[in-house]
Every structure is written in C-alpha cells, then in structure tokens.
C-alpha cells in the first residue's frame, strides 16, 4: 500500500501565545514546533498499515524550509520518504495550501497513492478544509474526523473508517484509492527510536518549490481573546482545604 501523509508544522506555545509586532503571526522566537497532533497519528497509522500490508509511507509538508524538522520527525517514526513543498515564510490561506499540496502530488504522480491521509484540521489555523479540497481536486473520496481505519474486503481494496459523533460511532466503507482526514485518538503514536532519528537526520528530502496564488480569505491580523477573569479564590492548602472545597461544591449544587 502506497500511503501519503500530509503534515503541518505548528508552534507549540505554553500558557501564553505571544504575537509578532505586526500581529500577523505567533511570535515563535522562543517557541518550539511540532507536527500537528492529528497528523502525528496519521503518520503512526500509515507506518502501521505499511508494516502490516507492505508498501511505502511518504510524508509531505508545505511551508517554509523549516518544515524539514517535522518531515525528519516523521521519517524517524518510520516513514520512508519526505517531500518538502517550499512555499516560503508567509502563512498560506487554505485554498493556496491545497493548491500547493495538489501540485506536489501531481509532481509525484509516478507512483499513485492508495491512501492519502490528512489531519482533520491544523492545530494553529484550524481551517477544516485543506484535505477535502485536495481530495476533491484529485477526485478521491474523503471522510473527516476518522478515529479508526481497517483494511477490508477479500482483495484488501476497501477501507472501513470509523468516526465519533455525538450519538455514537459512524462507519464508512470506501474503495481505494481514497483520502481520509483523521483525529488524535486514532492510535497512540510511537516515540522515534535512536537509530530511527539517526537515519532520518541523514535522509535526503525531495524539495518541490511552489508559489501558489492567494485565495479569497485574507488574514488581516491576529488578536488575543479578551479575558476578564478575576484572580482565583484560594480555598486553602493541602488536605485542610477540604471543608472549604465541599462548601463550594454545595454552593454550586455539585453535591
């Protein structure tokens, strides 16, 4: 099974989310970056599928050249090949991101993919549409919110996809080739091993430069949400606080 996983490099802020002076981005001078959690699960799932059914895992990330860090992390997890779609430093709107991914997939078209995985939405911008736009453009079926993937059918040419909804679980059965947008909880991603990391560090990434046209949604500025919470009321220290805690629970009608 040839699997492509599209991942995004996202900042990993702590309790505060500092902004740049021009309010165009998160100020990441003092922050680390990570693969979006949904996409990390997508990489894990792809590696497991290929371990079980054979084939290769390709990871693709569009963004500035620094996305190489996240591609190498995915390689260390067990992906076979990394594709860096260099779209420059500025954040792309979702139509432009989709165009960049489509362009790269078409460039790689020598070996068509059986399965293309996306995260359901990116952890930072959260546009909820890039995977669907790419699948649509490529004529692939896609279902979002996926938390379970099983290879199905005698010929192994179908996938059984599960997703959580408010009332329970919905099941879909889609023919390959297909796309799916997955969510964290699909699996528990592995930590890369030391040999995996060493191999990933030396791996050659395929770079595809691309300058997509802007779409119809234009970011003007980012803002911190208004927070007018008052300081917490400290009920006490240690076990001695228990009576005060239960007073509050009673007041709130919780007991």
């Amino acid at each position: 099974m040839e699997v492509l996983v599209c991942v995004k490099r996202v900042p990993a802020p702590g309790a505060k989310v500092p902004l740049t002076e021009d309010a165009q981005d998160i100020d990441t001078r003092h922050l680390g970056f990570t693969i979006g959690p949904h996409e990390e699960c997508a990489v894990e799932e792809a590696v497991r599928l290929v371990e079980a059914h054979g084939g290769h895992v390709t990871v693709l990330a569009a963004g500035p050249p620094e996305v190489a860090e996240q591609l190498r992390y995915a390689l260390a997890m067990g992906a076979d090949r990394g594709v860096l779609v260099d779209t420059g430093a500025a954040e792309l709107d979702p139509e432009a991101t989709a165009a960049a991914v489509v362009h790269a997939i078409r460039t790689l078209d020598a070996e068509p993919f059986d399965l293309v995985l996306f995260g359901n939405e990116s952890a930072d911008a959260g546009h909820y549409q890039v995977g669907i736009r790419v699948a649509c453009e490529l004529g692939l079926p896609i279902v979002g919110g996926i938390k379970g993937i099983d290879v199905d059918g005698a010929a192994g040419d179908r996938l059984r996809l599960r997703r959580d909804v408010a009332t329970g679980v919905e099941v879909y059965e889609v023919p390959l080739p297909t796309a799916a947008a997955v969510k964290e909880g699909l699996n528990l991603p592995r930590y890369p091993t030391m040999p995996g990391r060493l191999k990933a560090r030396k791996a050659q990434l395929l770079t595809i430069p691309f300058e997509p046209a802007a779409g119809g949604l234009r970011k003007v500025r980012l803002r911190q949400p208004h927070d007018d919470r008052e300081a917490a009321i400290v009920l006490g220290h240690g076990a001695a606080a228990a009576p005060a805690v239960v007073d509050v629970l009673e007041e709130l009608g919780a007991v």
């Binding site: 139509e95 546009h127 979002g144 679980v169 949604l217 009321i233 400290v234 001695a240």
Partner: protein
C-alpha cells in the same frame, strides 16, 4: 440573498441571527424529505424566514459528505446567493468544505462575527479559541461556518414572524459514485455520563502521577455524578484513553464545574475547558496558569487534597453513604 443551512438539531436556527447581521433577505436551505421540509417550514415561519430550499435526492437519505457537498454546490450555482452560512459542528464544517471545494469558492470557518459588504469583514477563532483572527472574505458567493456556541450569542433583535414559509424543492444531479462515502453502519453509545455532556468533570494531568492515581478522581467524579477527564500528558503516558482528553485535540467541554487536578493550564488544554462556568484548580504550584485563571484554587498535592475532599463529602452525607 443569504442562505442559511438549517436542520432539526437544537440550536441550528441560531445561525439565522448571525445571517441577519450580515444582510437580507435570508432564506433557509435543508436536506431532507418533503415531510422534513414541512416540519422545518413551520419552525422557520416563527423565525421570519419566507423561503426554504429543500434539497432531496435518494443519495441523501443518509449522511454522505461528498453527496451533501455536491448537492449544496449545485444549489449555490443555481441561486448565486451572496453568502451561505452554516453551523461549524463536525458535519456542518464537512459539508461546507465539500461544497466550497466543488464550487471552487473560499470558505471561512469558525467565525464569531461577520460584517457584510464587499469584502465581508470577519473574525474567526484559531487554535480552538487560542487566538482571534480578523480576516476579509472576497468571493462571488461567500461561505462561512459559525464557531459552535458563537451563533447563539448573536443578538436576535425583534424577529418578526412571516405568514408563510414557501418550500422550494431542489433535486440535484448526483453521480451514483458519490454513494461511496455514505454511512454504512452506526453504533449508539451507552447511556453513562459522557465527558462532552457531564455537568461536573474531574480532570487529571501529569500531577496525578500514574494510571492508578486516577482512582481517587474516579471516586470523586462518582460522588458528584460527573465524568473523569485528563490532559494530553495523561493520554500520551497511556494513563487514560484519548476519549478522556480535554483540549484542542481532545474534547471541548462546558460543564458547570471543572476540577483540574495537577494540570498546568497550557493553552491547548485551556481552550478545551475555558467555557466551564466554574473551575477549581488543585495544584502544588500557586503560579501555575490553571491556578491563576481558575475560579477557585487549592494549593497542594492531588493525593492529599482529593482523599480529604472525598472523606469530607462522605462525612457530611452521613454514616450510610
């Protein structure tokens, strides 16, 4: 004309209020049978909506994201509305993204406010509420989804009922292959208290220390009729299943009371619990962001504080509890 996507879900008609802040007239669009349409039309009359575009097709009798999106894209091509507004729940977001992709139109998701004109000026949430983004949306037909919870907040000022809501039937042309992404089976969750809907959530993070350490959280949740939640550290350590995780990539909850035990309050966790009516933080660190942003705090070790709270509740309930 603006189109608002509606269904029978409670709160679905809230988006009408948001639509009216953008412009008029506002018409509704829904998927379903003639009987569904008639029922919805009765409701829409009270909300001052005079037209319901009812999309019906045999491929649409059960949820199918591609078929729903294609059908909506075809209706957009037919009516050429100024904009289409839908609820940003999982399904609403998926259908709108499908429609946007097929109609080759931009889509702004997770919007909390919109001002009409050309372009539309809007504010959307990013990172589950970590940041706000002011943006401009330029398109022949502007597509937006409303962040869950934001529509209900919009002022619904003096909606005048109309005499009649006319149902305009629309039958899209759908290729049979679109049935490939239709729901084929469903399982229904049991009745127990669920994290998403519990009124009290007792949640634990790294400070709980181990999987076994959650026993006292379970006990407290049981006494309060609540559910147990956790942070991503607990999930990643294998202490709790991901279905317990609160936050950006877990579940976003709004209980009456959130008890955060040994959780530091990283933004990705905070955005999942910040809509709780009250937050009680239990933490050894008085400077932890969860402690400073909570309503109430106890400074101390989870495993000292919680057993004492459980004992106090039992003592007040009397000897038989």
């Amino acid at each position: 004309m603006l189109l608002t996507v509606v269904d029978e879900q409670p709160g679905s008609l809230d988006t009408l209020g948001m639509a009216r802040t953008i412009g008029t007239p506002v018409a509704a669009v829904a998927f379903g049978t003639a009987a569904d349409g008639a029922k919805l039309a009765d409701e829409l009359v009270k909300h001052g909506v005079g037209t319901l575009h009812l999309i019906s097709h045999e491929l649409l009798t059960d949820y199918a994201p591609e078929a729903f999106g294609e059908a909506l894209a075809q209706l957009i091509a037919r009516l050429r509305p100024e904009g289409v507004i839908a609820t940003g729940d999982d399904r609403g977001a998926e259908v709108m993204a499908q429609a946007a992709a097929r109609a080759r139109l931009p889509l702004a998701t997770q919007c909390v406010s919109v001002t009409g004109g050309d372009p539309w000026q809007l504010t959307r949430i990013r990172g589950g509420g970590m940041l706000l983004e002011d943006a401009e949306l330029t398109a022949a037909t502007k597509l937006i989804t409303v962040a869950p919870g934001a529509a209900g907040a919009a002022e619904i000022s003096e909606v005048r009922a109309v005499d009649e809501c006319v149902v305009e039937a629309f039958t899209p042309e759908l290729a049979p292959e679109l049935a490939r992404t239709r729901v084929v089976a469903r399982t229904t969750r049991g009745d127990g208290v669920s994290l998403a809907t519990a009124e009290v959530v007792v949640s634990g993070g790294r400070g709980v220390g181990s999987a076994a350490g959650y026993a006292v959280l379970e006990e407290l949740a049981g006494l309060l009729g609540g559910a147990v939640g956790c942070s991503r550290v607990a999930t990643n350590n294998g202490w709790r299943p991901h279905s317990d995780q609160v936050g950006l990539t877990g579940t976003k909850i709004s209980p009456k009371l959130y008890i955060a035990c040994g959780i530091s309050g990283a933004t990705q966790h905070w955005v999942g619990c910040m809509d709780a009516a009250a937050i009680l933080a239990v933490n050894t660190d008085p400077e932890a962001p969860m402690v400073t942003r909570a309503t109430y705090a106890v400074i101390g070790d989870v495993h000292d504080v919680l057993p004492a709270v459980v004992a106090e509740i039992r003592a007040r309930a009397g000897p038989r509890r």
